[in-house]
């Protein structure tokens, strides 16, 4: 039988004290009460490790890069050994045919019992030829692995929404995972990349409770994606006060005022950056003086400049936003009205003249 999580941790030299610390930190990160700490510990001690297949489609590996930087729990020491990460071509030792053989082996051995984690997405154009893994289109690998999986984790905005490779005109026809995998439960963990602690917390929750955490309508875990960056931003008081950065080099920028006018997408972005922050809680984009680009939102790459408040509207063949289009329309209507008024006046004058 596969080792339990606890056995693996002890074998890795982690003390029981550290293990319990990890359990309470995880409970806190998941928003659970102290009563759940022993439950997490118990689950870790008794449950066999759930094997995870971590597949990579069209992506940039930023999700993996984020994941291995998790501080609570330390991905390096705990999570990578805790989850039975049977396949992840970026961080596994095996390579080539040997590595690909592991996928087949895992699928056969744990049929219907493993978790499929997908980083990146499949391109559909040219029969999937834009992403070849081990001589076969990634699309084949994904649908095959998903068909035998228990559940699917869509890591990052690529797997969740399509991200940059799905930006217009999307030549490879890259689509998010849920467009090709329709019969399995999918949890979306969007972000480019998602926050490391969010990723490890999601994995831990699934392993501990053997189910997904509560999801919103878009399939994201509510515990991390139920509020906008703006709702918990430490610069929010400046927004309410009407104090904004107007230029990157002005006094307001130095004072740390709200970046709303600089195109910060915090008000429309659901993520936990302003609470959990990045790199062990060190900082997050807004704290560093740059607006949020909305990387965890669907279509964030096609909404015009990252530094514009209003979305670009290009349907009319010109660069514009809601105000430019609206003002042009209102101007046209106003001009037409004025012209109509002039003609009406002339007509009326003529009509009156005719009557007399």
């Amino acid at each position: 039988m596969t080792e339990t999580f606890y056995e693996v941790m002890r074998r890795q030299g982690i003390t029981r004290r550290s293990f319990l610390k990890y359990c309470s930190l995880t409970a806190a990160a998941l928003g659970l009460g102290p009563a759940f700490v022993p439950r997490i510990a118990h689950a870790m001690e008794t449950k066999p490790r759930i094997p995870i297949l971590w597949l990579h489609g069209l992506e940039c590996t930023c999700c993996s890069e984020s994941f291995i930087r998790s501080a609570h729990p330390l991905a390096k020491d705990v999570v990578l050994s805790m989850i039975s990460l049977d396949y992840d071509d970026t961080i596994m030792a095996a390579a080539g045919h040997q590595a690909e053989a592991i996928i087949t082996e895992t699928i056969e051995k744990y049929d219907g019992n493993y978790i499929l984690a997908v980083e990146g997405n499949p391109p559909l154009n040219e029969d999937g030829m834009y992403c070849i893994i081990g001589g076969r289109p990634f699309l084949d690998q994904l649908t095959h692995a998903a068909a035998h999986a228990k559940a699917v984790i869509s890591w990052g905005s690529c797997a969740s929404y399509g991200c940059v490779q799905a930006a217009k005109p999307n030549p490879t026809q890259a689509v998010p995972v849920h467009k090709v995998v329709k019969d399995k439960p999918i949890i979306k963990v969007p972000g480019c990349p998602p926050i490391a602690e969010v990723m490890t917390a999601v994995v831990t929750y699934i392993l501990t409770f053997e189910r997904f955490p509560e999801l919103d309508r878009q399939g994201r875990p509510k515990m991390f994606y139920s509020q906008r960056i703006h709702d918990k931003c430490y610069r929010r008081p400046h927004f309410d006060a009407g104090q904004f950065v107007e230029h990157w080099d002005d006094d307001s920028a130095r004072k740390g005022y709200c970046l709303y006018k600089m195109g910060c997408k915090g008000p429309t972005t659901y993520n936990a950056c302003s609470t959990i922050r990045w790199n062990a809680g060190t900082s997050f984009p807004i704290q560093a003086g740059h607006g949020c680009i909305g990387c965890s939102e669907d279509g964030f790459w096609d909404k015009g400049g990252f530094y514009n408040r209003l979305t670009a509207i290009n349907q009319f063949g010109i660069e514009g936003n809601a105000d430019e289009v609206g003002m042009a329309a209102a101007g046209a209507v106003g001009a037409a009205t004025a012209a109509h008024l002039a003609v009406s006046a002339v007509k009326r004058a003529q009509h009156k003249g005719g009557q007399e």
Binding site: D216, R217, Q218, K222, S226, Q227, R228, D231, P237, H238, F239, D240, A241, G242, Q243, F244, V245, E246, S252, Y257, Y260, K261, K265, P267, T268, T269, Y270, G294, E297, D298, G299, F300, K303, R309, L310, T311, I313, N321, A322, D323, V325, G326, M327, A329, A330, V333, G334, T337, H340, L341, V343, S344, K347, R348
Partner: protein, 233 residues
């Protein structure tokens, strides 16, 4: 029915409907101005954040006016049911009546200076009904739904605004950003409507065969000639 035709004035708009019209108009002006200032805020305020609350006041005004618009709209639906038949005209345009479309066509000709004289209506003329139904009524519904969806985002996932609106509107559009953009664009549609609405109301008052502006103040429609009306009341 015949008695109506010879009368020079008909009571068309009842007091609650007139009140709704003007409250609604005021709410829309406030919403458009504050909405514009939310998307393009005023210049930065000096001093400490604790001493300022400008954006907060602007947003509060927007939300309060939004509630007035929303509650007013619910009242307007109620009044369409219990009020006189003119109160229903805006909601139920007779789209399958040939006479209605012939009336629309005649109004278009009147506005294109191709007809010598407009027809005479106790209620709205058919073109007005069509434009108000499409360009005003449904746009108002759209603004209320997207507006409350955006409000629900701030009110939180457990709020009724979120459950009733945000929970399905945001995924429908893809994300919050696009809901903002459409909410903003339709504001401009309403601005265009207001320009046309005011121009046409004044023009009709002067050039058509019945009163317009004063009717929405007093409720009485005055006629300038004694001939038969064309909407058969």
């Amino acid at each position: 029915m015949q008695a109506d035709i010879n009368r020079q004035a008909v009571y068309v708009y009842e007091a609650p409907l007139r009140l709704w019209h003007w409250i609604n108009a005021l709410a829309i002006v406030v919403l458009a101005v504050t909405g514009y200032l939310i998307a393009s805020p005023l210049p930065t305020q000096p001093g400490e954040a604790s001493a300022n609350f400008l954006m907060g006041y602007i947003r509060f005004t927007h939300f309060a006016a939004g509630y007035i618009l929303g509650i007013g709209f619910l009242f307007r639906i109620y009044w369409a049911i219990v009020g006189n038949h003119h109160a229903r005209q805006l909601f139920l345009p007779p789209l399958f009546s040939a006479g209605f479309w012939s009336g629309v066509w005649h109004e278009i000709k009147w506005y294109a200076f191709a007809a010598r004289e407009p027809r005479k209506y106790v209620g709205h003329n058919p073109l007005a009904v069509l434009v108000m139904h499409v360009l005003f009524l449904w746009m108002l519904v759209f603004m209320l739904i997207t507006g409350f969806a955006l409000y629900g985002e701030g009110a939180g996932m457990d709020s009724w605004q979120f459950l009733l609106f945000s929970s399905w509107v945001i995924p429908l559009f893809g994300q919050s950003q696009d809901v903002h953009t459409w909410h903003h664009l339709v504001m401009w549609v309403l601005v265009c409507f207001v320009i046309i609405h005011i121009y046409v109301a004044i023009r009709e008052d002067i050039m058509s065969r019945q009163s317009m502006v004063s009717t929405m103040i007093s409720g009485w429609r005055m006629f300038k000639d004694g001939r038969d009306v064309d909407d058969g009341h």
